[in-house]
């Protein structure tokens, strides 16, 4: 009984083979080996064509047998695990090493420092598609030294000359391990092969396995699209922002609220980039879905701290979403059908191996679901959204790459038969990357964008349209110079021009009593230059420091009200109006933004990191509702509305266990924020010419501790995080009207001290995986009534100071089951089904608490509003067809 079991457990490398092959086709030999030794061998049929094998083996070890039978086909066998063998083509460089190995003595590995330093560089690509493999880890085993490939798949390492084992790994790819004899600088390009479905979930990290400990980064969360897909989705819609919300330090005011809050910052303090184009609204359907088409996304990086100096313009965080390139080898059609929306994506080569395109579209039809609602005004409502991505990439030469990316989205939602909200984004990005040498790279990026939003109503005589928009143009240049392994220098400059239209009200017919009214357009220019130096002093200590200098101009044409300085600013206290001509500078602000971080290794598997950064934000979202609404306007800094400034200090401890399969981290931060935008009680924000008078500058402080444990590379993967954090604000003006809560600190709308999240993904079998997501957080602050009074027979409720109470706590469990149609490698048609249940135990999580009298004149009853009050099941079908 024990014998077959023992055999199964036996290492593939220790298996002995006895067989005789005479002019046997190689494929038959491999099939025979598979049969005899319970192996799975992966290869492409075309590699074996015409190769015949003649050999006799008597109790020879399997690796030796494989090497002998594969010699003629120029293949190398990789023993991936005891039952899996992956064949990869042997590159000419491998051949060199075998020949040279005998001739040159190996370097003195004990003292590698003595040898000459040489540079090893090259591209990592996906063999099937020819796409660059981003974030692949390239490790020299003997030196325990490694790097990750950049967004072009390029890697470079500076090491002493010698003979080494180079290992290249990437998500969902068979690792490539090869011996190299390195006597001078060399280019080694590596092609990686996709693993079959069984193996696909094994590797889910897009970065070096020890990135957690080894890199200088802290407060950075990287999610590959595979990880994003492993988080159970609401209504089966895979969503980038929902996955980001599962990271520590990221919260939202509630279900279906637009945007997210990072480390005590407001929604507009996140710089959201999609292929370098800033987005002003990351949500579809008021926040239930994010604007990123999951099929298009390559990877997502969220910087909560240690924000590199190449980013600027927002105070709290950077969410950098990279879209993927099209398949450079073959056309592929993929898509998905869900309850709420469907997706279709087409990609393929334009010029094989050189140029490719990808076109992706999504459309949603929430109107279908609305028909089942009893309320008539809801049934009359209708809505839709769509988005469309297109990307072209063209490899002009070995040194030049061109990328063109475009995005178009539109949301429209009509409430009842009357009010329609619309918003949409259009962006275009053109990027040219040039490699001067393997030490010097440059990119030039140009972006143009437009975010338009509005509301219209049809009831006479109050029919109107109210439209607003933001247009911007951005140009930036970045240069990376890596003179040696110890030094990485980045520098660049950028300039962004903004044009804001904060509202144009038009009566939509002659019967309308409304008069046309438009807010003056606002223009501004934001320019910045940065320099950053990353310096590895020793393997144990590395530092990165940088400086960003930003300069901001509020430009004319425009008018600025002068307020009577003796009384609180009000529309009625305007004493004079200053007029500025087109292009004239109304106000200038300049800031230096220092950034720095230090990493100290505490041994092989742990490190401590310390970081500081200052961020400055010149454009602001003006909203005094709990959740951001599509009517909220964006405003550029002016003489009264000063730039927001954020300073953050963060300290983190990072430790990896069990061969980097478990990552632990603890990060603490303390943040001070200045010139936050707060509002007078009941402020009117729309179409208010004297809006500056209703805005109050506030100070903020936020602090927290984020603990996280993450398991990677096993059948059970996922993470758990706990965050304790506070986010406080203070508004202390010269008069009571300009002061909130008597000038003391009060919790912000999204202050949720305790936050706990677990995301797990268990591979149940080759084809079936189960994922679950649990989240708990403290209820957010609200203002509750304290007493009531009667005014002219009408009841008036007297509320407490701002945000002095809390709504009940939030918790929720979601599960999803994914069933793959096939796990055959290289199958032409792939499909999968995802069954999910959101809010499994149907908790009525309160979104808000409000007060409404049952009958007029009664004391209002407290009600809690839950946006999702029951379990929401969903089913989604995904497919992929390869020509």
């Amino acid at each position: 009984m024990a014998l077959p079991h023992a055999q199964a457990q036996q290492e593939a490398g220790q298996r002995l083979v006895t067989a005789t092959y005479t002019n046997e086709p190689l494929k038959a030999v491999l099939l025979d080996l598979q049969e005899q030794h319970a192996l799975r061998i992966f290869y492409l049929d075309e590699w074996l064509d015409g190769v015949q094998v003649t050999h006799t083996f008597v109790a020879e070890p399997l690796p030796v047998v494989l090497r002998k039978v594969l010699t003629e086909a120029h293949l190398t066998a990789i023993l991936y695990d005891p039952r899996t063998v992956v064949l990869v083509p042997r590159l000419s460089t491998d051949a060199d090493t075998t020949e040279e190995r005998e001739k040159s003595p190996g370097p003195d590995l004990a003292n590698p420092g003595r040898g000459r330093m040489i540079t090893l560089s090259g591209h990592v690509r996906e063999a099937k598609t020819g796409e660059p493999s981003i974030g692949a880890t390239v490790v020299v085993e003997e030196l325990k030294k490694g790097t990750a490939s950049d967004e072009k798949g390029y890697y470079t390492l500076t090491i002493p000359a010698g003979s080494y084992t180079l290992e290249v790994r990437s998500v969902g790819m068979v690792p490539d391990k090869r011996k190299l004899q390195l006597l001078q600088s060399r280019i080694v390009d590596v092609e990686l092969f996709e693993v079959s479905n069984e193996l696909r979930e094994v590797e889910v990290s897009a970065v070096a396995p020890d990135q957690n400990v080894k890199s200088l980064e802290m407060g950075v969360a990287r999610l590959s699209i595979k990880e994003i897909k492993s988080v159970p989705a609401f209504l089966g819609e895979v969503d980038v922002v929902r996955s980001v919300l599962a990271m520590p330090g990221v919260t939202t005011v509630g279900e279906g609220a637009t945007g997210f809050n990072v480390r005590g910052g407001s929604v507009d303090q996140n710089l959201i980039l999609q292929d370098d184009a800033p987005l002003f609204n990351s949500s579809h359907l008021f926040g239930f879905f994010s604007v990123f088409n999951p099929d298009m996304v390559e990877d997502v990086t969220l910087y909560r701290a240690g924000i590199p100096s190449r980013y600027g313009g927002r105070v709290s965080s950077v969410l950098d979403v990279k879209m993927r390139d099209g398949n450079k080898k073959i056309p592929v059609l993929s898509g998905g059908i869900g309850l709420l929306s469907s997706r279709l994506l087409l990609e393929g080569p334009i010029v094989k191996d050189k140029a490719s395109f990808v076109l992706g579209g999504r459309g949603a039809y929430p109107g279908l679901l609305l028909r089942f609602v009893p309320d008539k005004s809801v049934r009359d409502s209708d809505g839709n959204f769509y988005d469309f991505n297109a990307k072209l990439s063209y490899t002009l030469s070995e040194k030049d790459q061109l990328m063109l990316s475009g995005y178009l989205s539109r949301d429209s939602f009509r409430f009842g038969t009357d009010t329609t909200y619309t918003w949409g984004t259009a962006t275009g990005t053109l990027k040219w990357s040039h490699t001067f040498s393997n030490k010097l790279f440059s990119t030039l990026t140009g972006v143009a964008g437009d975010y338009a939003y509005g509301v219209s109503a049809e009831t006479v005589p109050y029919n109107f349209t109210l439209d607003s928009d933001i247009k911007y143009k951005l140009l930036k240049a970045d240069v990376n110079y890596e003179p040696s392994a110890q030094h990485k220098i980045g520098l660049g400059a950028s300039s962004t021009w903004y044009n804001f239209n904060s509202g144009e009200l038009k009566p939509s017919s002659d019967q309308s009593s409304l008069v046309q009214l438009s807010m003056p357009r606002e223009q501004s220019l934001e320019a910045a230059a940065y320099l950053n130096h990353e310096y590895t002093l020793s393997p144990a200590i590395s530092v990165s420091y940088g400086l960003r200098y930003s300069s901001y101009f509020n430009l004319g044409p425009g008018r600025v009200y002068v307020y009577n300085p003796e009384v609180p600013r009000r529309a009625s206290s305007v004493t004079d109006t200053l007029h500025f001509a087109d292009g004239e500078s109304i106000k200038q602000y300049n800031y230096l933004e220092p950034r720095a971080s230090v990493r100290v290794a505490l041994g092989e598997n742990s490190s401590v990191k310390l970081g500081y950064n200052r961020m400055v934000q010149y454009i602001h979202l003006i909203s005094n509702t709990t959740a951001v609404s599509p009517m909220d306007i964006w405003k550029t800094s002016n003489p009264y509305l000063k730039p927001q400034i954020g300073d953050q200090v963060a300290l983190g401890y990072f430790r990896n266990l069990h061969d980097n399969s478990i990552e632990l981290s603890a990060e603490g931060y303390y943040k001070r924020l200045h010139n936050l935008v707060e509002y007078k009680d009941g402020a009117r924000l729309l179409l208010n010419n004297a809006l500056d008078a209703d805005l109050l500058p506030g100070d903020g402080k936020a602090y927290g501790l984020e603990l996280m444990i993450r398991r990677k590379g096993k059948k059970l993967t996922g993470w758990a995080s706990y965050t304790y954090s506070r986010s406080l604000r203070r508004v202390k003006g010269p008069t009571p009207e300009e002061t909130i809560n008597s000038g003391s600190y009060f919790p912000s709308n999204y202050d949720k001290p305790h936050d706990f999240t677990v995301v797990l993904n268990q591979q149940l079998s080759r084809l079936i995986s189960l994922s679950a997501n649990f989240t708990y957080s403290t209820g957010r602050p609200v203002t509750y009534p304290e007493s009531v009074s009667m005014i002219g027979g009408l009841l008036m409720v007297n509320y407490s100071d701002r945000n002095q109470h809390r709504i009940p706590d939030y918790h929720r469990l979601d599960v999803a089951l994914t069933i793959d149609g096939t796990n055959k490698r290289g199958a032409k048609r792939l499909s999968s089904w995802t069954l999910s249940v959101y809010n499994l135990y149907g908790r009525n999580n309160p979104y808000s608490v409000f007060f409404k009298p049952a009958y007029s004149g009664n004391v209002p009853q407290a009600y809690k509003l839950s946006v999702i009050g029951s379990a929401v099941p969903a089913i989604t079908y995904n497919f992929k067809i390869t020509k």
Binding site: P374, D681, E737, S789, N798, N844, F850, K852, V867, I868
Partner: protein, 359 residues
């Protein structure tokens, strides 16, 4: 813009709510945050008309918030001394007509548009309160009143907790105002109702009255205020009240239009916003509504309410509801029996058999 935000907002969130939450998602829950600390509430008005029903001040204490049984016990403040000063130092004295109610007698009245007025209050315990000065301006006239017979579809919870549609019928009363173009105008409206009703006339000698009129008092359920920021110089058509379509008789709606100062408008706008807010995510978070009164020696003390100075314009409208009878989904109306002694007088409160002007 206020109109835009408040009128639409009340049902803005409902559809999305309903898409994703096919079960009841709005649930009442118990909350008691009441503070025992009592603060003074002042509700005062001086107008350009010498009318004791308008020129009066009501003083009371706040009641703790109790959302569970929802009872408001309004505790009046008696024995206070209430004075009104104009900006020349002239004084008018209010008289306490009944507990907590202070009126400006016709003999004391001496107010005119263009003057500013300040209210001063001395409580029996010696605390002194004052208002910020309020400028009295004339109110533009109401050009016309109109009404529309309308169905209101509401979703309510039935006995078993399911959401069902319920149709309510009523007459929307609108005030039409030609907004003067030369000035910034702020308005508030208050509507009173008089219900006419009948009983079956008794065929006896000296029958008691069979046609009565019941004064329904204020019928607008929330504060109604508007400004002319978006319509300056154009026609304002403001929904001021809804008259129910329940019995097929005549109904008189009397609309009073008050002019407001910018600060008073802010107060009434916030009160209206509070009363019409449904707690949707697009509603501004609730906040304390600050009035224009303060404790003369302790500015930190919370004082609620407002003292206003307003010009008044008034207009009445009679809705002959018989013309719309029968009302859909309501059974035929049966005229009730008369009381042998009082006729129709006991059927409704505040009734009279003397025909009011207008009927």
């Amino acid at each position: 813009m206020m109109r835009l935000r408040t009128e639409r907002k009340s049902w803005l969130w409902a559809p999305l709510l309903a898409i994703l939450c096919l079960q009841a998602c709005v649930e009442p829950f118990e909350l008691e945050t009441g503070t025992e600390k009592q603060s003074l509430v002042v509700d005062g008005l001086i107008t350009d008309r010498n009318d004791t029903t308008l020129n009066k001040v009501t003083l009371s204490w706040t009641a703790p918030y109790n959302g569970v049984d929802g009872v408001v016990v309004k505790e009046p403040v008696s024995g206070a001394s209430v004075m009104l000063y104009d900006n020349k130092g002239n004084l008018m004295q209010f008289r306490e007509s009944y507990s907590g109610n202070y009126v400006l007698d016709e003999s004391e009245y001496d107010a005119r548009p263009g003057e500013s007025y300040t209210l001063r209050i001395w409580l029996p315990d010696g605390r002194e309160y004052a208002s910020r000065p309020e400028l009295l301006t004339e109110a533009p006239p109401i050009r016309d009143l109109g009404y529309t017979y309308k169905e209101f579809i509401e979703v309510v919870k039935n006995g078993s907790g399911e959401l069902v549609e319920q149709t309510e019928l009523g007459f929307e009363v609108r005030a039409e105002v030609d907004d003067p173009a030369n000035a910034q105008n702020f308005y508030r409206w208050s509507t009173k109702g008089i219900l006419e009703y009948h009983t079956i006339a008794l065929e006896i000698k000296d029958p008691p009255p069979s046609t009565c009129w019941s004064c329904q008092g204020r019928i607008n359920k929330t504060a109604v205020a508007a400004d002319d920021a978006q319509v300056n110089g154009n026609k304002i058509s403001q929904l001021v009240a809804v008259v129910p379509a329940d019995i097929p008789t005549r109904y008189q709606a009397t609309v009073q239009q008050f002019s407001l100062t910018p600060a008073a408008f802010e107060f009434w706008r916030l009160l209206q916003q509070q009363q019409t807010s449904v707690g949707s995510i697009f509603d501004p978070p609730p906040a304390r509504i600050r009035g224009n009164l303060y404790n003369a020696s302790d500015p930190e003390e919370e004082v609620y309410g407002y003292f206003g100075a307003s010009g008044v314009a008034e207009k009445s409208l009679i809705i002959d509801r018989v013309r719309y009878y029968p009302f859909p989904r309501r059974g035929p109306y049966e005229v009730p029996m008369s009381d042998f002694r009082w006729g129709c007088l006991l059927l409704n409160p505040n009734s009279t058999s003397i025909r009011p002007p207008g009927f």
